[in-house]
């Protein structure tokens, strides 16, 4: 085996998947937000919702496009770089990925066309249906991919064949593997929080300049509602998921908490410098007995440490330990933001507090960071296995040389750097212009370029109502 090619393939997969997950995390939440906006607009005919829809759908179009093209890479890279894994795993998770394409990708891709370009072609009811289909499609996609990933984390419902392959014996056990329900809920809530934080930041940015803008006041309140409800809920779901890790993947849990010895009354390490060479933490700041309490629910519970596993079966520790702490730390800040915002809503109005608006602005990217840290915990924490207990990551790689992989990695780095910086620039530019850009300007409106996401949208959102019977 070519060690260099393996390292490069791992690096390439980590880079392309981490880059890709940014967009689904945002578009899963944004699609649902758009469906809510359009539904509220149809129900109340309040033009504020329509203006917000027309504004956020532009940002959705950009991010969704980036999610699609970086996602296509995944369905080919699996074979190109991880052919041995593909050949082994396909009898079990092949159908899951095929169902993702059949139930989600086509649905999203086809109805996206109606959602972006169909304003004048179909009635409002059908258009709303299209938005709903896209939103549902993003969630179905999350269902299947988390299902496949959860099976790889803790495989159930399969057997080994005499020829050395795998075969599914119980499809329900494959699809609903033990860690799947909590992980799916955790990811969907993470996506909703990530989106709410971006919407909150964009609204805060506008309100710091124009405190009276009704659209931004509305979207800020909607975001605050999401922080206040979803962030605490996420803590609960995350804890359930953590209990699954303790039960199903004890080595990952030991890495998350930097536990080395197996014992009762584990200390909780707030910060530590884990060192795999010495099999200990070089230093640590700890709360006695709290480690067993938060992971197992009782200070007296015995929790396995890393030394319980052979050195070749241990995941990297420091990156898992710290990624987890960044994720949880940001989660706590999100809860605080929700409590603060809810209190401001109850007392007065959140847009009156410039400190709160600045906090919302600062927290805008926090969801993305937390999602990526969470996935680092999940994926690095299950190393050295690509399918826990069945196949090591090192055995899954393709017979492809280091030269080819370094060239492709370089290609991905360059292309992703371009599309990321440009996409970010365009999204930030749209956010800076705000939801009323264009609507402020009196007639005659500058014709939008045909083919633009909004080409078919009425120029003046406020006038659309009069067009309808």
């Amino acid at each position: 085996m070519d060690v260099e090619a393996l390292m490069l393939s791992r690096l390439q997969f980590a880079f392309t998947i981490a880059f890709h997950i940014i967009f689904p995390s945002f578009t899963i939440g944004l699609a649902s937000f758009l469906a809510v906006l359009e539904g509220l607009w149809l129900a109340t005919r309040n033009e504020v919702f329509k203006t917000l829809y027309v504004f956020w759908v532009k940002i959705f179009a950009i991010s969704f496009g980036m999610g699609v093209v970086t996602g296509v890479v995944m369905s080919y890279q699996l074979g190109a770089n991880w052919s041995a894994f593909s050949a082994l795993a396909a009898p079990v998770i092949g159908p899951l990925l095929a169902f993702e394409v059949l139930t989600a990708f086509f649905l999203e891709a086809s109805f996206l066309g109606i959602m972006l370009f169909g304003w004048k072609k179909v009635g409002p009811g059908l258009h709303f249906t299209a938005t709903l289909m896209v939103a549902v499609g993003t969630l179905i996609s999350a269902f299947w991919i988390i299902s496949a990933n959860s099976w790889m984390q803790y495989p159930t419902g399969f057997a080994h064949t005499p020829e050395g392959g795998l075969i599914a014996t119980d499809w329900m056990a494959v699809i609903f593997s033990p860690s799947f329900p909590a992980r799916l809920a955790h990811m969907c809530l993470a996506a909703y929080l990530t989106t709410a934080l971006v919407i909150g930041a964009a609204s805060a940015w506008r309100l710091l300049r124009r405190p009276e803008e009704p659209e931004s006041q509305m979207s800020l309140r909607m975001a605050v509602g999401m922080f206040a409800i979803v962030a605490p809920l996420q803590l609960v779901v995350g804890d359930i998921s953590g209990k699954d890790v303790l039960r199903l993947q004890p080595a990952k849990l030991a890495a998350i908490e930097a536990f080395w010895e197996t014992k009762a009354e584990q200390a909780f390490h707030i910060a530590a410098w884990p060192d795999r060479a010495t099999e200990s933490n070089r230093w640590e700041i700890s709360i006695p007995r709290a480690g067993s309490l938060v992971t197992a629910g009782s200070a007296d519970a015995e929790v396995k440490g890393l030394k319980a596993f052979a050195p070749e079966d241990r995941p990297p520790v420091a990156i898992v330990f710290w990624s987890f702490r960044v994720m949880v730390g940001l989660g706590v800040l999100m809860i605080a933001l929700g409590v603060w915002g809810a209190w401001l809503c109850w007392r007065d109005a959140p847009e009156r507090s410039r400190a709160f608006l600045r906090a919302c602005l600062t927290m805008g990217p926090a969801g993305f960071v937390a999602v990526i840290c969470g996935w680092i915990v999940a994926e690095v924490g299950r190393q050295p296995w690509v399918i826990t207990g069945v196949m090591r990551t090192a055995d899954g790689v393709s017979p492809v040389g280091a030269g080819q992989v370094s060239a492709s990695l370089l290609g991905f780095l360059v292309v992703y750097a371009i599309i990321f910086s440009v996409g970010l620039l365009y999204i930030l530019r749209l956010i800076a212009e705000g939801p009323l850009a264009g609507a402020d300007e009196p007639t005659p409106p500058v014709p939008r370029a045909p083919g633009s996401a909004l080409a078919a949208v009425p120029d003046d959102p406020g006038r659309a109502r009069g067009d309808r019977p």
Partner: protein, 341 residues
């Protein structure tokens, strides 16, 4: 009930790849023709004609790749490493052209120019890379057991270059006839001219590829009646409808263009593609990794194929239904002002 699951799945994958080639073919073709547009306004209309549907078109590529993984994992695991370089090249090109749909509209002067170039260049490179993949596949893949056992650049030969040229011409033809169908006025006239040129190039290159393919592997030549001891008409006769279909396509294309029909040229171009597709498949079937692994050897476990078949039987008609509905919603001509009034 005893279904031949591997055979059914070979058919499903073949249809997915065919639909990909026909559907993404015309929108890649529109990108290839981008540099020849007279004005930026014409480019806007060209993009407008495909913007609502390109994403759905490209999903057939995901089904092709994902379906190969799920239905014929050994083939997927052998072919992807063998064609590593062109596959990655295709992905990178598809990324640049895919984001260009939205980026081009958000960019100001320089940004717009860059993404116009990225759309055209990405479409061209994606078509070339797909030609390399196709050519490299037909040439055959060296196996070591069931895994790829060849060299990184095995795929790069004069034959694959010829196939790539043919595919670029073919996509340009599909793009041109699509524009004949969907546009009006001056652009429509330009598209008609592009269709003549691309049609002639496609006809010539398809003939050249067909001949060259006979020399790629003795199995192919034999199927088409060319044996060491001379020409075997009995072996050739069952294959005769395939080139005839291609000729019929070219006739429909030429008459359609000459009579100024709007829809018929695209049908003709589609028939030409169908003929080329079936003709190439006839050479290597039942191999799925030519010429060492049949689709039966590569097939996934029967229980996985059966489960997915249930899904496909229910979902594929639904997918085809709403895909057709989306095309129906966006039917008719795309005019320069269709978008915003």
């Amino acid at each position: 009930m005893n279904l031949d699951l591997p055979l059914i799945w070979a058919g499903i994958i073949a249809i997915a790849v065919l639909l990909y080639v026909l559907l993404d073919g015309f929108d890649l073709g529109v990108g290839i023709l981008f540099p020849f547009a007279r004005t930026p306004a014409d480019r806007d209309v060209m993009m407008d004609s495909i913007a609502p549907v390109w994403d759905g078109n490209e999903t057939w590529l995901v089904l092709g790749g994902g379906g190969l993984f799920a239905a014929f994992p050994l083939a997927y695991a052998a072919i992807m490493p063998a064609l590593y370089v062109p596959v990655i090249l295709m992905l990178l090109a598809l990324i640049l052209r895919g984001v260009a749909f939205e980026f081009r509209l958000r960019g100001r002067r320089r940004g717009k120019a860059f993404w116009t170039g990225a759309f055209a260049g990405g479409s061209l490179v994606a078509a070339i890379a797909q030609g390399f993949v196709l050519g490299g596949f037909i040439q055959g893949v060296t196996l070591d057991g069931v895994a790829f056992g060849g060299q990184p650049f095995d795929w790069l030969t004069p034959y694959t270059l010829l196939v790539a040229a043919g595919l670029v011409a073919g996509y340009a033809l599909l793009g041109a006839t699509w524009l004949v169908w969907k546009t009006e006025t001056e652009l429509h006239g330009d598209a008609r001219r592009w269709a003549w040129i691309a049609g002639a190039a496609t006809a010539g290159l398809l003939a050249a590829v067909s001949l060259a393919t006979l020399f790629v592997h003795p199995q192919i030549a034999e199927r088409w009646g060319w044996r060491a001891d001379g020409f075997d008409f009995a072996a050739f006769l069952p294959h005769l409808p395939i080139p005839l279909l291609g000729l019929a396509g070219l006739v429909v294309l030429a008459i359609g263009l000459a009579r100024r029909s709007h829809g018929w040229p695209h049908l003709g171009a589609t028939l030409v593609f169908l003929s080329g597709y079936i003709g190439l498949a006839a050479g290597f079937f039942p191999d799925i990794v030519p010429y060492d692994m049949t689709f039966r050897q590569a097939a996934n476990q029967d229980n996985a194929l059966a489960l997915m078949l249930v899904g496909v039987a229910i979902l594929l008609p639904v997918i085809l239904g709403y895909t057709a509905w989306v095309y129906w919603v966006f039917r008719g001509k795309v005019s320069a002002d269709a978008g915003y009034h």
